[in-house]
Symmetry: C2
Subunit: 325 residues, 2 copies
């Protein structure tokens, strides 16, 4: 698909996935507007778009702002709707803010599209979070849902709104349930964007990673460029509208992930520590997803091996760590 | 279980199910406080508690009010949390109000319990709504979820919050997914509380019921006293905390339901009309639930036959129609 002259709006575009997407879309010739609220600790970072800063429009605003959003939505052909609160701990401490960002603001966006731009395509980044503790593996899209935190409940509602607005109003929405995305431009200075960035931070700083439990928990990791490819792969496929798809990637145990990072960086270390009580309650055991539905629909498969992805990640943060620590 | 000296708070207690519950709990000797916002068209009706008006405390307030709710919650042993917005059409016209009532206010309630009264038992009335169009029948609690309207999305989030607050904070929450409840004290003057009350209204007024499609759609109906029994049956069963249960009842097609009502009342009529476009999109086909999980846990089964329940319903509205039309 050619993106020449195509107007793309990226919510959360200064964040981890959004900025990597913007860089790719510039390459493809798209006309890009980034929206970001720059809420501290949410991952928005102006340095993320350094390579394309002269090729994109940046609009600082919050999706909870009921007036700017309709205005911005009006002129977009494709809306990559990535903005969200993703921190588990923050969502538990302040469920109402999480609700406002992950549900209320999503309704604003969809209502704005319905009223002012019903032809826009809207790609929403959802999460595997609300599958909870897997009842079977790999987890497909029909797996029962059981959120283990506030964030999961709200993200699910946000996703369902996207699908509903297709079913009822015909909006061209697609939801991708991401597993564990990693790579350059992720917030790593605290664990708000998940354990991988947090591991990477420790390695880059030559510190000791603390792994909860026995470290044998399995996760599937997707390199951010593969997620970007997935976001782009479904854009012009009408059969994907109103559909929900898992993404996924290469499996690893937490302990093997730590070992690989240490080996690549030739520094850092890890140790096993008992599960903190509050984390134990929400531990989901092993998780990896079945992404065959998306593969079948779009041909997408993850291309970057874990070894290669981790290498690029370490390299990025070694070079630019001052902008992330 | 004895309810003597037991302090019960009923949110939405002037509504359909809440008022029937209050009447039963007075009989059982409970100390009852009713909370109701009296939002027009939501079903709150002072006449509903006429038989027990001197035996309950009534507190007019809105669950969205962040200050009164913690105060009310503080002194309750059992909270029957029935307040909610239930109208499909209202939820589609105004998703944000639906979100505030069915999610945000639920978080207020749970947070208030967590902080000020973590020992309270909280029974939440959820809905079969978010199962969407059944993939198999009867529908059990593991059925995939696919809301066909805003109301379903928000009710699901509200339910999940109740379960989460058990898992993470140990609150004694139980969620019952109701199917189609009918009986005395339901709002019938408009279809906001579902098709059964709306059918009843037409029959009592000697009017013609309009049934969409061929009228062969199956629904399962629960008489309100059976729902009240279910709410009470699980209150003191710790094994039910954090669990979700379907309720259910006798099956009937819409056309047979209309015929039964006409036969009981000896008036009214029905006719088949084509599905309006907007309803067709959200039509779920046949639905009936599997409530064996709840039966196994509590011994509960619906006791009132459809024939008997409809008789009592018609009789009630014939006698008191001035208070409902």
């Amino acid at each position: 698909m050619s993106f020449k002259q195509i107007k793309c709006l990226i919510t959360g575009g200064l964040g981890f996935i959004g900025s990597n997407l913007a860089i790719k879309l510039v390459e493809l010739g798209a006309d890009i507007t980034i929206v970001d609220s720059m809420i501290p600790e949410y991952g928005g970072n102006l340095f993320n778009i350094e390579p394309v800063k002269n090729d994109v429009k940046i609009n600082f605003s919050d999706m909870r702002d009921t007036h700017t959003l309709p205005y911005l939505v009006k002129n977009s052909d494709i809306i990559f709707n990535l903005a969200g609160q993703v921190s588990h701990m923050d969502s538990m401490k302040d469920p109402l803010t999480d609700l406002d960002i992950n549900v209320r603001a999503q309704i604003f966006l969809l209502e704005a599209c319905r009223k002012y731009n019903p032809n826009a395509t809207i790609i929403y980044t959802s999460t595997r979070q609300f599958y909870g503790r897997p009842r079977y593996l790999p987890v497909d899209e029909n797996h029962p849902l059981c959120s283990v935190d506030t964030n999961g409940i709200n993200k699910l509602a946000g996703e369902q709104y996207h699908i509903l607005y297709h079913q009822v109003y015909g909006l061209k929405t697609i939801a991708l349930r991401l597993t564990n995305t990693y790579g350059p431009r992720q917030l790593i200075k605290n664990p708000r964007q998940g354990f991988i960035g947090w591991f990477v931070k420790h390695i880059v700083c030559d510190e000791t990673i603390e792994i909860f439990g026995d470290g044998l928990q399995i996760r599937d990791l997707t390199y951010v460029n593969d997620v970007v490819d997935a976001l782009i792969a479904c854009v012009d496929l009408p059969k994907c509208y109103g559909e929900i798809y898992n993404l996924g990637g290469e499996k690893t145990s937490l302990i093997d992930l730590a070992k690989q990072l240490i080996s690549i960086a030739s520094k850092g270390s890890y140790k096993l520590v008992p599960f903190p009580e509050e984390r134990k309650k929400i531990d989901i055991g092993d998780f990896y997803s079945d992404y065959s539905k998306f593969k079948k629909a779009t041909g997408w498969i993850p291309k970057v091996t874990l070894q290669e992805g981790l290498k690029r990640t370490i390299q990025y943060y070694e070079t630019y760590k001052d902008y992330y620590l």
